[in-house]
């Protein structure tokens, strides 16, 4: 875990310096556009976290192994963290560029609703502890991920303002080549940070459950 954390911090410093000092300033948006180097990596990491919650939840219900539940739980906490960072960095970017902190755009609405779903996941765990809470949370982890396309579809009914993807497209990146390296470095940094925190939380939960077991045994 420690090497992951060190590597992530180092890459984050490189990515941020590159994004702030080397990368070109966008013509229309100016300096606020540099928030992209945080916003985009963070949102991708958030969706990865949601995917890990889904996989952990399915495997927990299927295999009944508490390890999968610990993985899903740790990832759900990180999902809430990274979704929060997405919403905050997006609002800070939206204010100077769109003239508003918030708008009922499809992507924004979807992200906000996901925040509520995964906060609900954590609340269920807090209010229904033990095996029952774990199973309830797993069902929410599955339902939450399956709900994403429907949330997005419904939010499109509400109209859209957010730009379309510019990097991960079938036709190749639309983003200028000079903006790509700091974005990818920053992306790698956040993914490594996610991995490090995930390992840390899973280990903590494992220690906790061992402690409880040994106390019950004594």
């Amino acid at each position: 875990m420690r090497p992951l954390l060190i590597l992530s911090t180092a890459l984050m410093l490189v990515g941020i310096s590159w994004a702030l000092l080397v990368a070109p300033t966008e013509v229309l948006q100016g300096l606020p556009q540099r928030i992209m180097y945080i916003h985009v990596p963070v949102v991708i990491t958030a969706y990865l976290a949601i995917g890990v919650v889904f996989i952990g939840s399915v495997l927990f219900l299927w295999k009944k192994d508490a390890r999968w539940d610990r993985l899903a739980h740790a990832s759900a906490e990180l999902a809430v963290l990274f979704i929060s960072m997405t919403l905050i960095s997006g609002a800070i970017w939206g204010k100077p560029v769109w003239g508003t902190w918030w708008t009922w755009d499809a992507r924004l609405t979807t992200t906000l609703i996901l925040w509520f779903i995964y906060v609900g996941y954590l609340v269920v765990r807090a209010w229904a502890p033990g095996g029952r809470g774990a199973r309830a949370a797993a069902v929410i982890g599955i339902v939450g991920a399956l709900d994403i396309p429907l949330i997005h579809w419904s939010a499109i009914l509400l109209r859209t303002l957010h730009p379309q993807p510019t990097v991960f497209r079938a036709e190749g990146p639309l983003l200028p080549a000079s903006m790509l390296p700091p974005l990818l470095i920053s992306e790698a940094a956040f993914l490594l940070m996610f991995a490090a925190l995930l390992v840390l939380r899973v280990r903590q939960e494992r220690t906790l459950s061992r402690l409880i077991e040994s106390l019950e045994g004594a």
Binding site: I113, F116, A128, S154
Partner: protein, 215 residues
Amino acid sequence: MRSVWLLATKDLRLEWRTREIVTTMGLLAFLLVIVLGAARSDPESAPGAMWVTYAFAATLGFARTFALERDHLTALRLAPVDRGSVFLAKAMANWLMLVVVQIVSLPLFGALFTEAVWTRLPLLALPIALGGIGLSAVGTLFGGLIVQARLREALLPLLMLPVTLPLLIAAVSATSAILDGMPLSAVGAQLQLLGAFDILFLTVSWLLFDFVLEE
């Protein structure tokens, strides 16, 4: 299928004899229509008010239906039917109770918000029915999930409202277009979304209900 029907009629008979849940849901719906209507009662506010009312009535009622079962969950677990049937029976009973509340509150929307509720009734029945089915599917799944949790009544809306938001958005949008006098073809996308939501959540809940009732 027979066992689904038997279990559902058991719940409905219980409800018919006490009338606890439908009365509470109905009164809350009545109160919400009045509160929302006092705040704004122009025709444009009707669809939003309608679905806020239905969603809150549903979260209140659906938290109760499993509570009835709380002391008898073992009996339900031991019943010689598969858990998917238990889900379908509960969801059906919940939906029928919600439908009663929906029908009873329609005259209020007609009186307070817009006359169009009456002239557009046949078309309006589509989003009301499809939306009610989805609310019941999700409400039954989560209601069963948290039956033994602390603060169950507070937890259900926290879980149910975000997950059903796509359904509520589509239902509000369809209701609003229909009340504005648009033809059926104008709400095709919304009705498709409602149908997709219903199918997805009925199937997923039916599959996952095994784990919900597990000891």
